[in-house]
Amino acid sequence: MIEARAIVKRFGDFTALDGVSVDVPTGSLTALLGPSGSGKSTLLRVIAGLERPDAGTVVLDGEDVTRRPPQSRGVGFVFQHYAAFKHMTVWSNVAFGLTIRRRPRAEIKQRVGELLELVQLSGLAKRYPAQLSGGQRQRMGLARALAVDPKVLLLDEPFGALDARVRKELRLWLRRLHDETHTTTVIVTHDQEEAMEVADRVVVMNAGQIEQTAPPRELYDSPANEFVMSFVGPVNQVGDAYIRPHDVELLLEPNGSTQEAMVQRLVHLGFEVRVDLVRDDGQTLSAQLTREQVEALELQHGQIVYVRPTRQTVFAD
């Protein structure tokens, strides 16, 4: 269990964390989601002890570790840019924490062997980080962090420097790994899809504060405010109302509750098609349809259609 209480962290005039409190239950996989500059990485670094908070406390498994250095917190940390020890082989990188702890050679050999197996790098043990791909380097970083049996695993935008395909693979792989090991894990990301896919709980941060903490589904279905609504998925703003593109219905004939709009652009995204529309009052909005729906409606550029929201959200101020 990680408990961060009223954490404040300033860098000069900039307040990175403005009294943030967050609980991470034991065995969970929690995502800290937010735009850059929202304080999510700083919060993770405060938990790890890499950053000292100006106020607030960090409690790990019931122990106040606020004043403790990272060495004695029992955390595993994975960096966005891998932080691989460049002059060491993959094997020595993974063995680092155990070597420092002067564990018996046989134990190190066995544990590193297991971990390399787990991260699918067994054949590359003698390579140097420079000879690995980005995805392989990050798997090595993960094995290195797991080697010392950390109480919590902290990942700072771990897939941020990788290309889209490797990113998706690693994300699934991380989820499976967590299902096997159940290590309490916190992952920082600015990618809502990544957070929704990998985590059981998502903490949405903005401007040094927490906007909402919820499971992915709840976050999407009942966002606490405008910020969360627009950050966790595409959204149309029509007056005070927020409408998801898949909640916009298109009809060929008006039915009283619809408004006239013109098709400005059709964007084919495989199974889905995004339809950019402009209403007769000048309001632009986009609708998300399946390919079959678009074909059934025979939508064309410049065509006049009639739209209505099937579902919309209005936030009370």
Partner: protein, 258 residues
């Protein structure tokens, strides 16, 4: 095409005229009458003593400046402290200041009537050691600082989260990353210490057979119209410098070149 040859010709010509010709000429003059006279010239008691003095100066100045250099580089790059900017600038002072001025300053400080005078520092080996350390101080710092900046702090932070103490992190992570920069700094420091003339010339008092280093001995021989002695000693100095370079290149393992 012509442009490329012009650049090549100009740069090689520059090197040939300004570096290779004078040094080559000294070598030629030294061995003009064979190996024997040159050998005799550098094995006189005064020459051997001068060589000893130079080696002692280098043997003290190089380790001192290596340790100081690595620590200073760490301080400049890793630890923000008040006055770091000034400290960083002051480290370069020996490069900007003429060695003669350094020698004079040391003489004023440690000489007769100076603040710290009368402790057998001026006109003796300790003064010469101080002068040599002063002029060869910036090289290790200047080589190590950019490398430390480039490697960043992430590897060190990773080591910390894995349980490594400051010393363990330095030994296993930081040092392997900066050791070749340090080695190169050591080569430059050694070369500078071997070749130092100005500051040592002022502070030593130039007592032949006592406080005369190899460079001072070269000038002494030249002034005494002992051309062979001067040339042979110069060649010896040059060979020492080349030897340092070769040793360092040899030490560098294959793993680092990939």
């Amino acid at each position: 095409m012509i442009g490329r040859y012009a650049v090549r010709f100009a740069s090689l010509g520059y090197l040939a005229v300004l570096l290779v010709a004078p040094v080559g000429y000294v070598f030629w003059k030294t061995f003009q009458h064979g190996f024997g006279p040159a050998w005799d010239a550098v094995t006189t008691p005064d020459a051997v003593h001068a060589l000893k003095v130079t080696l002692i100066l280098t043997a003290i100045a190089v380790p001192a400046n290596t340790i100081f250099g690595v620590l200073s580089a760490l301080a400049i790059v890793r630890h923000r402290f008040p006055g770091a900017g000034i400290f960083n600038a002051v480290v370069d002072l020996p490069l900007a200041l003429s060695p003669v001025v350094v020698g004079l300053a040391l003489l004023l400080l440690y000489g007769r009537g100076g603040w710290l005078g009368g402790h057998g520092i001026a006109f003796a080996l300790p003064g010469m050691v101080l002068a040599t350390i002063f002029v060869s101080l910036p090289f290790v710092v200047r080589e190590v600082v950019p490398v430390l900046r480039e490697i960043g702090t992430e590897q060190e932070q990773a080591a910390a989260t894995l349980g490594a103490s400051w010393l363990q992190t330095f030994r296993r992570v930081t040092w392997p990353a900066i050791r070749w920069a340090t080695a190169y700094g050591v080569v430059l420091t050694t070369a500078r210490a071997l070749g130092e003339f100005g500051a040592v010339s002022v502070i030593s008092g130039r007592l032949t057979g006592e406080t005369e280093s190899m460079t001072l001995y070269v000038q002494d021989r030249y002034r005494s119209f002992d051309d062979v002695g001067a040339y042979a000693s110069s060649v010896l100095l040059a060979l020492l410098a080349v030897l340092t370079l070769i040793v360092m290149t040899r030490l560098r393992p294959k793993e680092e070149t990939q």
